[in-house]
């Protein structure tokens, strides 16, 4: 597009950006206030230090990381199966198959959460760690799938054909030709799945039962008990973790596209 010089558009843009960051900046500032309700009370790291000294922070953090790692690994494994398998299919996928793959992304989270809850209850799985990992892996797998399909599509089909002509079998082609070329996609997909899992609230809320607490669930329960200074400190830490995850994602090649597409 050729630029239309209407400064108003740029002004709106930067105002929107400013407003998007305002609530988060406010949280960050409050995390360092001696009394979060009083801006004049001075700055201090006391709440952060308190948070780091407390089990109520470390246990959910470890749980969140464990869940994220397992869910991301599972999601990447499953999505690789799907993407490698389906990329060999030359024709476009029928709408039913497309919808099936898109379903975990399209369904409103409340419905996904509720249906998984009912499903787990009916097959009599105890709600907890296991169910949250499965739930997270199930919705991230489709995201990872799309990343991998894109990577595979960019792959020159002639390379695989050449390998075939030279007598390589299907699995050899995969390991020698395809796999090395999609490693960036696998890594990016893993990171994306981890981020999705780490940030998820609603699905964990429905599938975790009450014995398990991830960081977002901890924030929710702290919100209900009261706006405590520790909550602000925890929010600050959460913001830092999330931001570093996105920035790592973005620093990857094509990271921008993934972030945009999966949002």
């Amino acid at each position: 597009m050729k630029p239309v010089r209407n400064p108003l558009v740029a002004i709106v843009f930067w105002m929107v950006i400013g407003l998007l960051y305002l609530p988060l900046l406010n949280l960050i500032m409050q995390a360092f206030l001696v009394d979060p309700r009083n801006i004049g009370s001075g700055f201090s790291t006391i709440w952060l230090r308190k948070l780091f000294a407390s089990d109520a922070f470390w246990r959910p953090l470890v749980t969140s990381i464990e869940i994220g790692v397992l869910a991301a690994t599972t999601a990447v494994a499953v999505a690789t199966f799907g993407a490698v398998g389906l990329s060999r299919v030359r024709s476009t996928l029928p709408p039913a198959v497309q919808t099936l793959i898109l379903l975990p992304i399209l369904l409103p989270e409340v419905i996904t959460g509720l249906s998984l809850l009912i499903f787990f209850l009916l097959i009599r799985v105890e709600l907890g760690f296991f169910t949250v990992v499965l739930a997270h892996a199930s919705f991230s797998a489709s995201f990872v799938y799309f990343i991998l399909v894109e990577q595979l599509r960019k792959l020159d089909p002639q390379m695989e054909e050449a390998a075939q002509d030279l007598g390589a079998r299907g699995s050899q082609i995969f390991w020698k030709v395809t796999f090395p070329n999609i490693i960036p996609g696998l890594m990016g997909g893993w990171l994306l799945a981890f981020t999705l899992s780490f940030d998820d609230f609603l699905i964990s809320f429905f599938t975790s039962g009450a014995g398990l607490t991830t960081l977002p669930l901890k924030i929710y329960s702290m919100m209900r008990i009261g706006i405590s200074p520790e909550l602000n400190a925890l929010s600050f830490v959460m913001i830092c973790i999330s931001f570093s995850l996105v920035i790592t994602l973005l620093s990857k090649e094509q990271g921008r596209e993934w972030v945009l597409k999966s949002s």
Binding site: M1, K2, P3, V4, V9, V12, V16, I17, L20, Y21, L22, P23, L24, N26, P36, I39, F81, G82, A83, G85, L86, V89, P95, L100, I101, L103, L106, L107, P108, E109, V110, I111, T112, L114, S115, L116, I118, F119, L134, A141, Y145, F198, D199, D200, F201, L215, P216, I219, M223, I227, S235, I239, S242, F243, V246, I247, L250, L260, K261, S263
Partner: protein, 279 residues
């Protein structure tokens, strides 16, 4: 069956077991009977769906639609210039703009809601600044009002609307606009007659995919609206938990999904023209 290799079937199996089956369970439950104790009977009935059309739930639905539509429209008004700005900037500036727009949405949802609560609260930054500047005498009440709900919805859904519009604008062939200009159209004529019609599908599809999740929203009305209003999502969740009426809750979920399917159908019809807007 031979068309897909075994690995693809593994993926399908995964999707069927963990997404389709649970979803089908909900749909199946929505046509079952419920006893007064809350147990479920495997008798086919459409009663639950008929209950959704009771004037009361129709009212809740109407209200949810109204609020969600207003929020979607606001998102559109704000989102269009944002997308426009991004589409007309190039290179590094565009990258930076996109990154800046998206970073906040990668913090988790509940944290963003908490951030709004603490911004709007009586002791929040907003009221503090307004009081300090002498603009107001008493803290203004945004938290626990419908305005609070609007802010929450717009804040959480804005980028999902910016991206489809951005993609559509990005793909717009500049020669159209040049042709229009050459033929003597002025800037605003070009915008209304050429640019806008060509991104219409992007706008419609983007709006739908913001609008539908809003209908199912239940945390925002609860935490930012003070639970003084109910959305369809709240009624649905409360049927599952408070009322122990799973079939009725399932029927509401079924209706929401139906709307989604219709939207999806429309989207696939447009897909050829608006390729890549969604995925």
């Amino acid at each position: 069956m031979k068309r897909y290799p075994g690995t693809a079937w593994f993926f399908f199996g995964w999707l069927v077991i963990l997404t389709l089956l649970p979803f089908a369970l909900i749909l199946g439950m929505s046509v079952m009977e419920r006893t007064i104790q809350g147990t479920i009977h495997f008798t086919f009935t459409l009663e639950n769906y008929l209950r959704c059309f009771h004037w009361l739930y129709a009212k809740v639905f109407g209200k949810t639609v109204l609020v969600a539509a207003t929020a979607t429209f606001s998102c559109l008004l704000i989102g269009f210039p944002v997308a426009y700005h991004l589409a007309r900037s190039t290179g590094a500036r565009r990258q930076v703009g996109l990154v800046l727009l998206f970073i906040p949405f990668w913090t988790n949802f509940i944290l963003r809601v908490h951030a709004m609560v603490s911004l709007f609260g009586n002791h929040g930054l907003l009221n503090h600044m307004l009081l300090e500047l002498g603009l107001i005498e008493e803290p203004i009440q945004i938290l626990y009002t419908r305005t609070g709900v609007y802010f929450g919805l717009i804040y959480n859904y804005l980028p999902f609307l910016v991206i489809p519009i951005f993609s559509a604008l990005e793909k717009l062939d500049p020669s159209f606009r040049e042709a229009a200009m050459d033929l003597g159209a002025n800037r605003s004529q070009t915008f209304w007659r050429v640019t806008l019609p060509n991104v219409r599908e992007g706008v419609v599809v983007g709006s739908l995919f913001v609008f539908i999740p809003m209908l199912g929203e239940y945390v925002i009305p609860d935490l930012l609206g003070g639970a003084k209003e109910v959305f369809l999502g709240n009624v649905m969740v409360s049927q599952f938990f408070t009322m122990q009426d799973w079939p009725f809750g399932a029927a509401i979920a079924g209706l929401l999904s139906l709307i989604l399917l219709v939207a999806l159908f429309m989207q696939t019809r447009w897909q050829r023209r608006v390729q890549g807007v969604l995925a």
